[in-house]
Amino acid sequence: MELTTNVMKYWLVTADEKMQTHKEYLSELDQAIGDGDHGHNMARGFQVAAENAKESTEEDIGALMKAAAMTLISKVGGASGPLYGTAFLKASDKWKGKTSLSKDEFAEGLEAAVEGIKTRGKAEAGSKTMLDVWTPVLDYVQHHDIAAPDVSAKAKESMEQTESMKAEKGRASYYGEESISHIDPGAYSSYLLFEALAEALDKEEA
């Protein structure tokens, strides 16, 4: 597989579509164990990131993703803004100067992204956060020849598993035991992001 600049753009654009479509649902998830803004935050940020990507003539994937990172950092706000922003920023650094990514190059960027989230959020997987989607997806990508349906399935399964977890980070942690039996909103938006990636991979394969 090769991920071209166009595929990466397509990833951002598709991610935005999904955030817009699921905006209310994401905020509802956040209403239950947070403050009800996650969908609005994600929709606000990805909208601008996707618009910029669409208009961009940038060929360098690193530069493209860095621009997206900066947009997410400045538009999303809340906790998810710095986390998604840092993730994209760290990945973009690995992808600097490239116009196409091999699977391993892609995985390298993803690994940097996950490290970035962990450092920024002072968290590990298992605390009922977006990391509970990013970490297993990274693991999967690192150890398999990735195919679109598998990435999507992995993300979905991981997202669903956050339902039974107890939140230990972020706003949801104040809900303690009551956070159990709710899906983590950041995990859900991350699942949407990787579903968009799967569609981008599909496109690449087509």
């Binding site: 209403q31 538009k75 706000g77 809340g78 906790a79 803004g81 710095p82 706003r171």
Partner: protein, 318 residues
């Protein structure tokens, strides 16, 4: 949702325009940014003081811009932490070369965004320090405690101190010291509604109150039947004094903060009982504050904050 707004997406922008217009003698807006700064910022030779957070807590934080208070306040979307580039602009605007102290309420979003802003400032050679306010004793684990109304006391005390010439390091230490001696606890009667969502943040039965709610309606410690004001005041006071280990002979600042739609009349009724109990325990109230300092839109409820004074802090209590 019954509100005087236009488009829910524009509330923060329009509020900032209103604030800048209303208080043009005291502050100005950084064009294009959701940042209000003291009119004469940067103040030569003075450490800059920046705070901020999600909107919806007015007058916090922009209402505390001025001499002996903040140099800048950064406004996020309603109940949503502002982004680092906004905070970074505030830092640049108030830095006179003496560095900038960031006063952050302890919410993961705020902490991360202020962290990133501090990194951006460092990259441009601006010194910053941060103090993270964790005054909400409703949360058991000290490190996870939320920042609430007590934050305003940090604005005022450290604001006075930097005006009197404390350097960045000293200001950060003082801020840390003050913060460690503040405890707050809230109690709510009804929720608020964020304009963008249009739905109340939580629900409470007609005869219920929730003890220990956060300033965005985060869950508290306990829901129970609504109690008389004196009982409520006593419970809040007991929890806060126990936590801060306030004892006979101590001096405190006492702040009864309104969450939004609770009338001043009720805040004074709560304050009255708290003051009576404190005086009965031989704890003297050095300064009293009663009113809306850190609101939560139209939430009904109040919180009690105590700051346990010592000689170091008293120097800067005006």
């Amino acid at each position: 949702m019954k509100k005087f707004i236009n488009n829910p997406e524009d509330v923060v922008e329009e509020m900032l325009e209103g604030m800048a217009a209303a208080h043009s003698n005291e502050l100005r807006r950084l064009p294009g940014w959701n940042v209000l700064v003291r009119k004469d910022a940067p103040v030569t030779g003075k450490v800059g003081l920046v705070s901020g957070g999600g909107s919806g807590h007015e007058p916090a934080h922009a209402g505390f811009i001025g001499e002996n208070m903040l140099d800048a306040a950064v406004a996020g979307e309603v109940f949503t932490s502002p982004a680092p580039d906004q905070i970074f602009e505030a830092i640049k605007a108030v830095d006179s070369g003496s560095g900038v102290l960031l006063i952050v309420k302890n919410f993961s979003g705020d902490v991360m965004n202020f962290d990133m802003a501090a990194e951006m400032a460092a990259a441009e050679g601006i010194d910053t320090e941060q103090v993270v306010v964790k005054d909400d004793i409703a949360v058991e684990n000290k490190e996870d405690r939320r920042g609430t109304a007590g934050t305003v006391l940090v604005h005022k005390i450290v604001g006075t101190a930097v005006e009197e010439g404390l350097n960045l390091q000293e200001a950060a230490e003082l801020a840390q010291h003050v913060t460690s001696r503040i405890g707050s606890m809230g109690v709510s009667l009804s929720p608020s509604t964020v304009p963008a969502s249009g739905k109340p943040g939580f629900t409470l039965a007609d005869d219920e109150m929730e003890l220990g709610t956060g300033i965005h309606g985060e869950p508290g410690m306990e829901r129970k039947k609504i109690q008389p004001a004196d009982t409520v005041a006593e419970e809040l006071l007991d929890k806060v004094t126990a936590e801060l280990e306030v004892k006979s002979g101590d001096d405190v600042i006492a702040l009864v903060n309104g969450q939004g739609s609770t009338p001043l009349m009720e805040l004074y009724i709560v304050y009255r009982k708290a003051a009576q109990l404190l005086s009965g325990r031989n704890i003297s109230i050095h300064q009293s504050m009663v009113g809306e300092y850190m609101s939560s839109l139209e939430m009904a409820g109040c919180s009690l904050t105590l700051l346990k004074l010592d000689d170091t802090i008293k120097k800067y209590v005006t």
